[in-house]
Structure formats: C-alpha cells, structure tokens
Amino acid sequence: MRGGGERRVEIRGARIVDPAANRDAPGSIFIAGGRIAALDRVPDGFRPDETIEAAGLVACPGLVDLSARLREPGFEYKATLESEMAAAAAGGVTSLACPPDTDPPLDEPGLVEMLTRRAQSLDGPRIYPLGALTVGLKGERLAEMAELRDAGCVGFFDGNAPMPDTATLLQALRYASTFGFTVWLRPEDPHLARGGVAHEGEVATRLGLPAIASVAETIAIATIVELMSITGARVHLARLSSAAGVAMVAAARARGVAITCDVGIHHLHLCDRDIGDFDAQCRLVPPLRDPSDRERLCQGLADGTIDAVCSDHTPVDDDAKQVPFGEAEAGATGLELLLPLALKWGGKAGLPMVESLAAVTMRPARVLGIEAGSLAPGAAADICLFDPNKAWQVRPAALASQGKNTPFLGLELVGRVVRTLVSGRTVHST
C-alpha cells in the first residue's frame, strides 16, 4: 500500500538539496498524503502527525538506481527480495530498476507481476523491472514486449547475456521502436569479449588473464548507433567502461542521436591496477579498465555525456568469489555504497553537492522516464536523509545486503543514510 493515508510529516531544519530545482538551502519539508505538500512554508492548517528533526542532515530526493539485482526468482541463496529491498532502503534508494537476469529470466508477464506484487507487499522502495529483450536472454526469439510492458516493465534488456546476432538485434530494435519502448543494451561485442575476464592492457598481460579490449565496447556502440539511425529505436547503453566508448556516445549525441547511457559506480573509482594479485572482488562486468578510462568516465558523468551512475548492485556469495580470478562470479554489492561513492566522485570532481546528487536522483529518473528524483510540491515524498559528514567503514556487518562482497571492503567512506522515506513512510531509519 502506497500513500500513507492522510498522515502528515514534517522534516524540520534539514539542508534540502534538490537537484531538480537546483536547490541547496536549509528548510523544512511538509508531507501530506504521501506527497510533498510544501517546502519551507507551513501549508495552512498543517499539523504534523510526525516531526523528524533533521538538523545537520541533508534531505534529498530518494536515490534512483538504474541497476540493482535483487536475485529473485532463482538465486535466493545469493540474496532475497527482503534482504535487497532492505539494502536499497538502507542506501537511500527509493526507486530501482532491476535487470531481467533472474532464473527464470523476466521474459513472461506472470513472472514480472509476481515480482512486483512481492515487492509491493514488502512496502519498501519502488521496483521498476526491466523485461527480457529476447526469450531466455538467448538472443534468438523476441520476448513479448508489449505484454511485459503491460505487466510493468519500463524497458527491455538482456542483461549481461551477449547479443550474438546483429540481425536479431536489428529486429529487436525495430520491434521495440514500433511501440516506443526503450531497449537497454550493454555494449560489448560478444566475439571480441569471448573468454575475457580483464581489460586488455598491462595488468592482464602481467597476470596472464584472458583479456577484453576496449574495442569490444566501441564496435558494439558503433553497431548500435547505426541500427538506431535506421530503426529510430530508443536505446540506453548500460555500463560504459572505456574512454573511447564515452567519446563515441558524445559524438553520436552531437549528431542528434537520442541515446542515453550509464556507468557503474565501481568504474568511477577503480581501475585494472586494483586487481592487484588476482583480487576476485575486482572481477566485474564490464572489466575495470585503465586509469585513463576511469578519468574519462568520471568526466563524462560530470559533463553530462553519461546520464547517470548506478550501483550495478550484484550480490555474490563467498563461494563464488573464493575461486581463481577467472572463475569468480562477476559483480559486487553496491546499493549501500552508491550514495557515499557518488559523493566521493563529486567531491573529487569539485562539483557542488546538488550536482553530485543529480547523477543518482533526477538524471536516472529521466532515463527511466519515471516521476521521481524531485522534491517539488506534488511529487511523491520519496526522500533520503543522510549525514554528509559521517564516516563509516565498509564491513560485512555494516551492510544489510546479503551480498557482502565488494572491492571497497575495509575502506572508510563518508556519508551515511539516516532515514529513507517512500511516499512519506519511513522504510529505513538508523
């Protein structure tokens, strides 16, 4: 149940940072009926049922995450909907897109309905499923996109599964564009990437790891952009990893191609050097690349070439990481690290907080085409309250997610969520 009835909440004395209004100023938020009633000025006759003292805290729109794997159905031993919804709330995330690479994959309306119903019953963050682009993510037959849209899917994606056949990709884009659906694609040529586990460069050479060159990404982007131009399809590129990829997106944009893209939070802070001596925590998809790639991704997110940063949250159990690097399952937990790592990126880039937060609120909301990421009166009262100065250490016990594996284990991060509200209701508080 959304809405919170007629319950009235006042968040008092916060530093309100709302990228959608380019606002960073102290004030109070008045919530009624699950929506923002007003900022700063008490609406007539407003008597709060609950008052939240927020001195010293930042109040911003709840975070919007473009990729969080909740692992249900099929991978409950890695994580459950309960654990990962709690992790999202603990990370200040109030809207999240979940990729279809579950088991079975989200290629049938019934599965999507089951997932959204289960999520709704947990009364936490809002879930926006991405439906499968092809049946079984196999890249052969198109999934029932219109049916999946009716079931609640906001886009179509085959996750990390390769799209082995350009002809199928062309038809998928053509079909999706018939209905104006957005197709999500992870740009990677499956042939050039085959067998690779690390960026082709000095580190992979030194460690003797099978490599994936940046050209695997640029070839895919070139193909996608060409197919967009003849189909008119809308495409979102998931997880850019290379400087050359960012440059190609910028060039396509300059030509008027309506393409959007995102980057995973890890790729803003890490590079292939961090693999050290086979640290499986750094086994990620796409691979961590050169420091120069990392710098360009950071810059691309700052200059708007990259639309948003996401957690790329992928809970992986210890058994799947305690194996040789090349056999380790790719992925890392991320929901609870998204906010502090986004702040860290913004800090290093010298951005004001309102711009750092835009990359995890308003901008991803725009990619998804959802009404979120704003504190304007009338908007849903999805709010993240955090302490911007609180330092905390990333330890398994500090994470609500069932996935405890991350390259950031042991590191100290600054910025900790204190309370998360969805439709004016507190879904997490410390």
Binding site: E202, A204, R206, G208, L209, D277, P324, G326
Partner: protein, 327 residues
Amino acid sequence: MRHNASLQVGPDGTLKHLLTTEGLPATVITRILDTADQFVSVSEREVKKVPLLRGKSIFNVFFENSTRTRTTFEIAAKRLSADVINLNVGASSTTKGETLLDTVWNLQAMDADMFIVRHSQSGAPHLIARHVKPGVAVINAGDGRHAHPTQGLLDMYTIRHYKRDFTALTVAIVGDVLHSRVARSQIHALKTLGVPEVRVIGPKTLLPAAVERLGVRVFHDMAEGIRDCDVVIMLRLQNERMNGALLPSAGEFFKCYGLTAEKLARAKPDAIVMHPGPMNRGVEIDSPVADGKQSVILPQVTFGIAVRMAVMAMLGSDHNSNARTAP
C-alpha cells in the same frame, strides 16, 4: 591491493611460497641459484639423496595434467628424502563439484607440508597460498598464462651456468608469448637480475597487449630480433594454436619464427639455445639446432631438478629453522 612480496617473501627475506618471479628480490633469486649449485653435485653422486626434508609430506596437486613437470618435482622431492604424494585432481575432485579450496583444505587435513600446484587458471596458487595454514608452503608449478617460476628460475640457473654474468646480456624469447607462463616468469627474473636487453619475438597475434611495459623490446622480424643475442629461448607452440585465427599453419610459423642454423648464425657465435620442452621439432626449432653444440636444452632439464630441490629445501627450512639449507 595485495602484493606478491608479502605473500611469498617474509619481511626478513625468507621464502614462504614460490608463486611468481615477479617481485622476487634479486637476493632471493641468487640464493636459490646458489643453493641449486650445491644440489647439482648431489645429483652426480652414487647415492643421490640428502635427508633435508625427511618426514615432510609434499603433495603434487595437478589440476592440469603434466607428467613431465610433475615427475621433475617428484624426483627433486625424493632426493631431499621427502614423502611425495601425487594427486591428479583434474580427474577426481573438481569433476565431482568440490571447490578448489575444499580440495586444498582436505589435503591439508592429511598433514601436508608443501603443495606443488598446477592449475589452468591464472592466480590459483595465490588463492591457495592465502588460505593454507601458516607453515604450509605452496609452489606454483604453472598457473594459466601467468607464471611458472621454477621453470623461470631453472632457466636463470642455466644462463648463469653458461654466461656467468647477467648484466651484459641480450636475451631473446621467441614464439607464443601471449599464452606463455614460462615467458612471463623468464622476463621478470631476467629484468630483476639486471639483464639490460630482453627481447620478445613473434607475430602480433602471439604477443600480449602492452608487453613492452614489462620492460622488453618487441620484434616481429626474427632475423632482426635474434641479431647479436647471447641467449635464444624458444617457446613451445601448443598444437591447438597452430591452425586457426592466431596462426595460419605450423609450416608458416616455422618459416618465419622457427630457429634454424641460418637464423642462429645472426646471434653471437657463443649464443646458447634454450627451450622449456617439450619441443616441436620442425615447428619452433630445427633438429640440427636442437641437437647442435649451442643447444643447452638437456642441461636445462638436469638443472631443473637441482633448482626445484633448492626451492623445496629453502621453503622447508625457511618454515622450520631447525633444518639446514645446504646439503
């Protein structure tokens, strides 16, 4: 970030594991080669045994088959009087679904003192070394494309034996560097020992990206690359790589990169020819060269036993201060 040095060499310079030649200090390499010198004479005795590792259990754990390498380790361990247990794990545990670490922990529970590990995945021995009990040593006997440190060290021994000084040498490594753990181990050891010029020679399909960042000079023309070399190391070309997208044919490879007397004539007159074995005659190397007077391929095998004895003896004694390092 984790560093090799802390995992395989203790703060006092003692060897804890042997995982890679990368980051292995020159002093440690020299100590291994000096110790091997003494073991060469053991192998020439009537009774080829010393009691250094008596009572120790050494497990040969091969997740990837290799009769030859396993045998050399077995001989080395037996000459040190250790008990050797050979496990061909590729054919048992992992196919039953047991994880690598479970396998190792099970063997550790059988009171192993040392693991000699070969695995198809780069980094597998590092993983094991991080999870064994203190005092248990891991020797990397080849992991993926990453490292084969005892091979690299026996090659250093061989070069030192014939050339004495490393600091004025030009060494060429020829062939499939991309897939070669041997080449990587040689390059790191040669650089550490002060070899001023290490060259790699091969077609672009068989040289890894940014290989020059390892400190080598890259040549694609064999005639040019071999000129004035003191040492020519030929790498083995795996059968499955001879005909495909990396190379058109074994014949064309031999024509361009095979070592013939004619090509060898461009190296220094006293240049030595090495090969880690097993050789493909007529692919990497022409028979007259393999069997010629500049070839030190068989001495490499002999020295390999002594070098592996040295590594095991040092690991045995560095872990147990009561044992002596020398015979």
